[in-house]
């Protein structure tokens, strides 16, 4: 059950999340999905008394998103993971791994972004996916 989904924008995301914290909500996690080549969808999941509330933030690919780790400390780990895998820049992170949590420093691609791989390369990766044999 997705529950309530409220759309937020870059300017008021921290304010809305902080208001929910004052109301007594617990931080669950953040999810990220790619919508198309230039936009990314970030969902913030918060929970109170077993009811889930989500905020949806749609941002263009290279936007700098304010981090909610000053509000909810536990968010720093999820935001670092999203920096590594989706190449989103979070500003104001409490502990910043600077894209070295999963990746090495010389890796320049974003592993989970399927739209940044060109269509021709994607066909090549799908047809050479494991089809039996060592």
């Amino acid at each position: 059950m997705l529950g309530e989904v409220i759309s937020v924008s870059l300017d008021d995301v921290i304010e809305k999340v902080a208001k929910k914290k004052v109301e007594g909500c617990r931080f669950v996690t953040m999810s990220c999905a790619e919508l198309d080549e230039n936009t990314i969808d970030i969902l913030y999941h918060l929970d109170k008394d077993l009811k889930l509330v989500s905020f949806r933030l749609t941002v263009p690919r290279n936007a700098a998103v304010p981090s909610i780790s000053p509000v909810y400390f536990a968010a720093f780990l999820v935001e670092n993971e999203m920096q590594d895998l989706f190449d989103i820049r979070f500003t104001g992170l409490v502990i910043d791994y600077e894209r070295t949590l999963y990746l090495e420093e010389e890796v320049k691609i974003t592993p989970f972004c399927k739209y940044s791989i060109s269509a021709a390369n994607r066909q090549k990766t799908i047809s050479s996916a494991p089809s039996g044999g060592p």
Binding site: A129, P130, S131, G132, G133, P134
Partner: protein
Amino acid sequence: MFKMTPNVLKNLLSPKATRRYPHEVRPPFENVRGELCNDIENCTFCSVCAVKCPSQCITVDKKAATWTCDPFACVFCGICVDVCQAKCLHQKHGYRIPVLGREIIFMQGKAGPKKGNDLNREKSSCWSKNG
């Protein structure tokens, strides 16, 4: 001071807690999903098993009537056994024993409509029989 002594004596005189493997082997349970094998005589080469396999370890060629499986990519989930239309795939009750080299199971059946009776099974040099 002598609190441990009854414990020690009890452990000395009671039977072992572990089974004396390999002299004593527990018979396998009936439902165990072990090694995968195919009755190639009844196989119709419909390729449903190859399409549904989660680890994509089966390859079927309908024209040449061959069924190939990589037992080292197989995860023994049993989905192919459930969806097999000719009911020729089944799983043994025991796991595959360790072998020295990596090999592929290759089975050749008779081309054309079913009931191929020739079973040519290609054996590589380190394939060993197990049951």
